[in-house]
């Protein structure tokens, strides 16, 4: 069994699809069971490999959405209109199918409940996925560390994990939404792109030495990281994960 555990982290392994569920009109969560899974930390990702009948292959990376939970892994995938893999994962894949994955990967963009520093999470669209793993890990550990999520979405209908975030708020977790394209009629929250003024309102003071995690499309991450440094945050305490095309 010891040999199997090491192999599981370094090579491709087969996982079974257990469930596919809708989060928003364009976003689905896929639940896998990976028998050789050795566990993961919040913020890590998996590489997925698909092989067509003629041998054609495509690889992509997806952040793990779930807190550690034995051999069970959840991925949350946004369907990109011109995507090659995301339409397959969100529209074709069904319970009973198998895929190959490799992981968990990435020690750089991780958060563990044992850490005491306040945490600022800034997510753009599907960039919230690894941040949600951190929020879920914090809840599962019963931690009350100061954690704030600033979450940018196009509209209220596009907010991934909307209801769950509402339920988890409290006990030191704050969720602040900004809706950039359209807002519901009685909306009193932020209605613009994340900027320095918004971050200055939301973020813990730089003197509290928070850990900051920013995830989303590359332009979003760049703008947010730059703004954070401008309002006094230490660049070394900001960890970024940029979602670009990750095809291999």
């Amino acid at each position: 069994m010891a040999g199997t555990a090491v192999l599981g982290r370094l090579t491709w392994q087969v996982a079974d699809v257990i469930e596919v569920a809708s989060e928003t009109p364009r976003v689905k969560t896929i639940v896998f069971d990976a028998p050789n899974w050795t566990g993961h930390r919040a913020g890590q990702h998996v590489d997925i490999r698909l092989t067509a009948e003629d041998g054609y292959r495509a690889e992509r990376s997806y952040s793990i959405a779930s807190a550690p939970d034995g051999t069970r892994i959840e991925l949350t995938v946004e369907r990109l209109d011109d995507g090659e893999v995301s339409p397959y994962l969100t529209e074709e894949l069904r319970p009973g199918d198998q895929i190959e994955l490799r992981g968990p990967v990435g020690g750089y963009f991780v958060w563990e409940p044992s850490r005491n520093a306040p945490v600022l999470l800034v997510g753009g669209g599907s960039g919230v996925v690894p941040l949600m793993a951190m929020i879920r890990a914090r809840a599962a550990a019963g931690a009350d560390i100061d954690m704030r999520l600033l979450f940018s979405s196009r509209s209220w209908e596009d907010v991934i994990y909307r209801d769950e975030l509402g339920h988890l708020e409290g006990s030191g977790l704050r969720v602040i939404h900004t809706l950039t394209r359209s807002q519901p009629p009685s909306w009193t929250g932020y209605a613009r792109r994340v900027d320095g003024a918004m971050l200055a309102d939301i973020a813990p003071s730089p003197s509290a030495k928070p850990r900051v995690y920013v995830c989303g499309p590359t332009p979003f991450v760049e703008a947010v990281a730059t703004a954070l440094v401008r309002i006094g945050h230490d660049a070394g305490a900001i960890r970024t994960e940029r979602f670009g095309p990750t095809g291999g």
Binding site: A2, L10, T11
Partner: protein, 95 residues
């Protein structure tokens, strides 16, 4: 700034498979400008192969070509790599 730019953690899986260590927290020193930073903070580009560039001066630190049989890894700009033994053991230990 390019929309294609990614972080070093985008190639972490493949490098971990090859080197059997956690690469994204390893500290790389740039041959060109001397900057030292975690490999996870490099700027990753995808061309004919993958290029991991120094976050400070943009010099190419590591190149990766993925063949069917082999992975070709070049180190044009990586002067040194520091891997903390704790990280290596984390990647290799049996649980």
């Amino acid at each position: 700034m390019d929309a294609l730019m990614l972080d070093g953690n985008a190639v972490a899986g493949m490098l971990q498979q090859v080197f059997a260590i956690e690469m994204t927290t390893a500290l790389g020193t740039c041959r060109e400008c001397g900057a030292t930073d975690v490999m996870g903070a490099t700027r990753v580009f995808r061309g004919a192969g993958i290029v991991m560039r120094c976050g400070r001066c943009n010099y190419p630190l590591v190149t990766i070509g993925k063949g069917d049989e082999s992975v070709w890894i070049g180190f044009p700009g990586l002067r040194t790599l520091e891997v903390r033994l704790g990280d290596a053991e984390t990647a290799m230990r049996a649980e």
